[in-house]
Symmetry: D2
Subunit: 185 residues, 4 copies
């Protein structure tokens, strides 16, 4: 059974990016999309630093991180101006878009169309734009790393352009030397 | 530059396994070899639970975890009987071998041959028996997951036998349903 | 050198309390006053759960916890309605007052009068209404406990009414039995 | 009901002290006695750093920390030579005594006489040598601080010698200045 194509998000305010973003721009890269609300405790203590860290450490290897602010409660508290202050205070540097509000319902457009049940929700999209993971609740680092490592590898085998970056991922030592000295003799 | 073949370990006492293990038995699987000393604080608080967790959660997907007790100090304190008590108290269930002592030097055989600089040291060997990572000091879960995910993927693309297990790794939801419900409509 | 009398706070919106509070009401109790901003990461991950825990576990022994929302930046983001949502999401049940804004300056009234340098700030006031600690930056649990224990004890020696509650603090076992069984024989 | 007098410990090997210690030497000080086994995971990750920290930060204020190695299982693994290596590796600098073994039973002398149920066990003895707390299982920092603060305060009110040190405990700021600047005006 093939994975479905991930749908476009609907965003009306973007932060941390000079221009609006579309999912189709990221073809060829692995996309980590995380839906959150700025006043969600679990998000703030776990998912924010996790997503930001993936952005800072793995962008170069082919992962693009995008936040989606899916406000479905406390709308008066989580406005765009509050979101901007939040991103500043929490040192979030990856792009974040505000999900489009829908008249007559508390659930915003993208959240509704994607069937998200709450926050935090984490979505992984592969290099071909296919939806590969959609998970509600926090995800631990080991499991997230496993999935990202596999999705990054898929592109490497097929193509070649990112081969070099990928190799650096696994062949390295903490002191910067290669592994060819192992074994020593 | 091709990765070198990982050398065999030299072990004289095995725990948590009915029979002695050889690296060559693990061809086709990804091997996480971690060298430790039972009285090393960093190992006990971080590397032990990390290695045991990989063993419990990812053995089914193709990762084999092996501990190597490389005693190079406090030899009178870290004997096999002490190691056995340690593994019991720390609920370590993956196989652990005691590196062979060498007369006239505090550094044991495998540790010396492999050029390990201390504990904890973490080594990753791919499905083809090639050495892909040799790192001194603690490794965080995200980075370890990234590497394991990539090494597991290599075998999946080439072969087919483990395809099924690998697919389960990335296509799942926390509630057990598939991702085909995303998007909802 | 005697400790100075703690000044009254100036608050225009109260949450988690049926009526406005005044410091003078707390004479006879130890008061933990913590100044915060809801979008301050250090506060949210450390000072909030710490203050709430003192409130839940030590109110009975004589400690009153009061939060003071001292907004001096991002005023448009940290409004009373946002604060109310924040307290709800973070399960904060102790009383919180919003420091009174002052025209022409970003620093609110109480924060300015008390010489607070930023958030989080923690203030301890003894049973006699004297200021005993004013500290900027996070405080660890052990040190906070030490100070609260000492301040609580001062009242116990002088008076008697809270003697019983105080005794329960130190004479207890995790299984609920007393310590008289120690030694066993 | 008055607290019972704490009994003497029975120790045959002492580490981190130039001479054997007796409980009676500590009259006038608050004693934190913690019973442990070096291979007990909960002890190593929580109780060791906690006890060592109290020793390093609160000895000056009147708290004496003593460890008691109460081996009741894996006797061949937790010998004095292993304990010495353990204390070195875990940077434990406070005095530790090995509880005296008893022929015909796995439980050592002091552990048995004091009715300890296992490790970690934490015991608090006041300035007058009275037993004030005997608790099995880990204790959190806030609660331990509360108890130590109260026990330290008892001596301060009665006497006067340690008044100065005690005052420093609660009247201080993180930048080293006093609290007299609060309020500012």
């Amino acid at each position: 059974m093939e994975a479905p194509t991930a749908p476009e998000w609907q965003v009306d305010v973007w932060l941390n990016t000079p221009a609006p973003l579309e999912l189709s721009q990221f073809r060829g890269r692995v996309v980590l999309l995380h839906a959150f609300q700025m006043l969600c405790p679990g998000y703030v203590s776990h998912a924010v630093p996790q997503a930001e860290r993936v952005h800072r450490e793995y962008a170069e290897l082919g992962v693009s991180v995008v936040g989606l602010h899916t406000v479905f409660e406390h709308h008066a508290a989580m406005t765009p101006v509050a979101l901007e202050a939040f991103l500043h205070e929490y040192r979030v540097t990856h792009p974040v878009g505000a999900d489009v509000a829908v008249a007559g319902t508390p659930v915003p457009e993208t959240m509704n169309r994607c069937g998200m049940r709450g926050t935090p929700t984490l979505v992984l999209i592969d290099r071909a734009g296919k939806l590969r993971l959609h998970e509600f609740e926090r995800m631990d680092d080991l499991r997230l790393g496993m999935m990202l490592g596999r999705l990054l590898a898929e592109g490497l085998q097929a193509g070649g352009a990112t081969q070099e970056a990928g190799s650096r991922l696994v062949i390295s030592r903490s002191d910067g030397t290669g592994v060819s000295s192992w074994p020593a003799g």
